[in-house]
């Protein structure tokens, strides 16, 4: 009996240690993992920053380091010189295409999410068929789409064949994200809405969409960014007018000035604006809910 009494305080102390590790010294593994992470970040962003930095050279600028002067010359060049290619037109097309892809992806992913809440006959076959196009090589899929359009006697264009080819890429992603989002949706919310007299449509409009809004924004973000920089599937399907990634690619072949880098910088800024707006709206939704917390 006495042994137990003596043991107890010691056990208490060791247990406390295990729960709250001391903040003083970090284990060596921390430094190993931290340097690994630093190397990863450098490898991830280093190449991109090379491009951004080189795009701010002056008129003497070349395609490699060292940096020659500082100016916005190549950005002006990008939008004024015809020889650099149809930057503005391809940018317009890419944005329009990305918006259409986003809308279709969000709507169909949402509906698929609704449909897959319950198991149905052949559901796994439908699911794998959807995911299958993720595995298919993009170039081959694009080529096939182009051939199919040719065989049907249709001329490929960014708003028809390229749209379809891009959807084969964004839809599976959208649906997968939607499944993750839906897994956190409690079906009892839907049932409660129906129990309180809401119609099918009212339940979707007043309960499902608002609750799922952050997830839907995430799906939209996926759709937009995947479409905006899609290359492989678009290459053979865009027809005579290029989208932005195709334009950049063709410029790498014949433009030998830093305006190519300037274009890289501009498109990156656009991407970040889109991501910023999306994340901002998610934060806003949550903040709106959080603000009521403080008020209450």
């Amino acid at each position: 009996m006495s042994a137990v009494v003596v043991d107890n305080p010691e056990q208490g102390i060791s247990a406390r240690k295990a729960i709250a590790p001391s903040r003083g010294k970090r284990p060596w593994t921390f430094y190993v993992l931290a340097s690994l992470f630093t190397a990863y970040v450098l490898a991830l962003y280093g190449p991109m920053f090379c491009i951004y930095i080189l795009s701010f050279q002056d008129v003497r600028g070349g395609l490699v380091f060292p940096m020659k002067g500082r100016s916005l010359h190549w950005f002006i060049d990008l939008f004024t010189q015809v020889r650099t290619g149809d930057v503005k037109g391809s940018f317009d097309r890419s944005i329009k295409l990305a918006v259409i892809v986003t809308i279709i992806t969000v709507v169909i992913s949402f509906l698929a999410g609704l449909g897959f809440r319950r198991r149905f006959k052949g559901d796994s076959i439908v699911f794998y068929m959807m995911i299958g196009s993720l595995v298919a090589p993009g170039l081959v899929l694009g080529l096939g789409t182009g051939l199919l359009f040719q065989a049907l006697g249709l001329s490929p264009a960014w708003y028809s064949s390229a749209l379809g080819a891009q959807l084969s890429w964004t839809l599976p992603f959208g649906v997968l994200v939607m499944f993750a989002v839906m897994s956190r949706f409690n079906n009892a919310w839907d049932e409660a809405a129906r129990d309180l007299g809401a119609s099918r449509w009212q339940a979707i409009r007043l309960v499902m969409i608002p609750v799922l809004a952050p997830g839907l924004v995430a799906v939209a973000l996926f759709g937009f960014t995947l479409s905006y920089d899609e290359f492989a599937r678009t290459l053979q399907t865009a027809g005579s007018l290029n989208t932005l990634p195709l334009e950049i690619w063709s410029m790498t072949l014949n433009v030998t000035s830093p305006s190519l880098y300037a274009l890289g910088t501009v498109t990156t800024i656009v991407s970040f604006v889109v991501i910023g707006v999306s994340l901002g709206s998610i934060v806003l939704i949550q903040k709106k809910r959080g603000a009521q917390k403080i008020k209450g």
């Binding site: 009892a188 049932e191 809405a193 007299g197 119609s199 009521q292």
Partner: protein, 368 residues
């Protein structure tokens, strides 16, 4: 058609999800208007399915569900004038307390001012005025339950269906909210149907307790009847508080019979209303745990006690106002005596002591 009464009749209600096994298997039950009815049973016994069928969230495979004299099978929940309180409440996470409660009025197309006024009145009734602008996630479990109750009650239902309403709460709050449910039921004057797997909850609340097993009703009746006079071994063991012994009938006298258990001493059991007991039958009997008295060997039995089964104490648990003494009286089943605290500590037993378990002869009851 407007349903004005909350009396419910289930007639031959069956539900099968796969066409082979009946999750609910031919349930017949009548629940009076304004009654508090508890369905109780282990998980998977079909109690929640029955609730959902009454609510209109599932359709029965066969049978009729009659509310206030109208067969409601196929009608949506609103037309049944039922409202459901979901397990873990299913409050809309993006709406405030006020908006949650006003939801039913919103979908009916009431103007914003009108429905918020009605919601505020309801909020006052459930004493949540200071929390009206909060989101569900910012409320405690008990407050969430009140919101769920208010949200359901604003539709002026005739029947309120509650799916394990207290399971999300901690022990103390559960007892408190239990009383609140009963108070609300009296105030609203409507039928409550409450699904639970907690015996104490059922007998504390219900006018009508319905014990279920594998899709069938095992016993339905007032709480005291189900607890004190279980019909069979299943109900006795599920409701608790009973020792169940089985044995073979050795002899039938005028008003009683003798039950023999292997080499053990015969137990005398009054026949009561049970008929058709013959010598040689194997039957179960029940003795309430608080009817069992323990005496030391050699001491005289209390008056009225006939049977005295020698047993060894296997464990003792102090429970506050009584002491739970576990005995090895019967080989396979547990046998427990609830001894009042004062009686126990006047002459305490230890684990391993040999005692005689006895009871007043007419307290033993034959089971079906």
């Amino acid at each position: 058609m407007r349903i004005e009464r909350g009396d419910i009749e289930l007639a031959g209600v069956c539900k099968s999800y796969d066409g082979v096994v009946n999750a609910v298997d031919g349930v017949n039950l009548r629940i009076a208007d304004g009654a508090y009815c508890c369905f109780i049973g282990p998980s998977g016994c079909g109690k929640t399915t029955i609730l959902r069928m009454i609510a209109g969230h599932e359709d029965p495979t066969a049978g009729e569900i009659v509310i206030g004299g109208h067969n409601v099978v196929g009608l949506p929940p609103v037309q049944r004038r039922t409202a459901m309180m979901f397990q873990s409440y299913a409050l809309f996470p993006h709406l405030t307390v006020r908006e949650n409660i006003a939801f039913a009025l919103q979908v009916r197309g009431q103007s914003k001012a009108e429905r918020l006024r009605a919601a505020d009145a309801m909020i006052e009734k459930v004493r949540l005025t200071q929390f009206a602008d909060r989101l569900p996630a910012q409320l405690s479990g008990g407050q969430q339950q009140r919101v769920a109750l208010a949200r359901a009650a604003i539709t002026e239902p005739r029947v309120l269906l509650l799916d394990e309403p207290l399971s999300a709460l901690d022990e103390q709050l559960r007892v408190q909210m239990r009383q609140e449910l009963r108070r609300m039921q009296r105030e609203l004057g409507i039928t409550f149907i409450h699904v639970t797997h907690t015996q104490l909850e059922a007998i504390a609340l219900a006018d009508l307790v319905v014990v279920m097993e594998q899709g069938r009703i095992k016993q339905a009746g007032p709480a005291r009847e189900v607890y004190a006079h279980p019909r069979d071994r299943y109900v006795a063991e599920f409701m608790g508080g009973q020792n169940v012994l089985s044995g073979r009938v050795a002899k039938v006298n005028g008003g009683s019979f003798l039950l023999k258990q292997g080499a053990r001493e015969a137990i005398e059991v009054p026949l009561q209303a049970r008929r058709g007991i013959g010598v040689g039958d194997t039957i179960d009997i029940a003795v309430r745990r608080d009817d069992v008295a323990l005496v030391r060997p050699g001491a005289s039995l209390p008056p009225g006690c006939g049977t005295a089964l020698p047993s060894r104490v296997t464990a003792i648990e102090y429970q506050g106002y009584f002491v739970k003494v576990m005995l090895d009286t019967v080989p396979d089943d547990e046998f427990v005596a609830y001894v009042p605290e004062k009686t126990f500590f006047a002459d305490p037993f230890n684990v391993g002591d040999v005692v005689l378990a006895t009871w007043v002869a007419d307290r033993a009851r034959p089971l079906a």
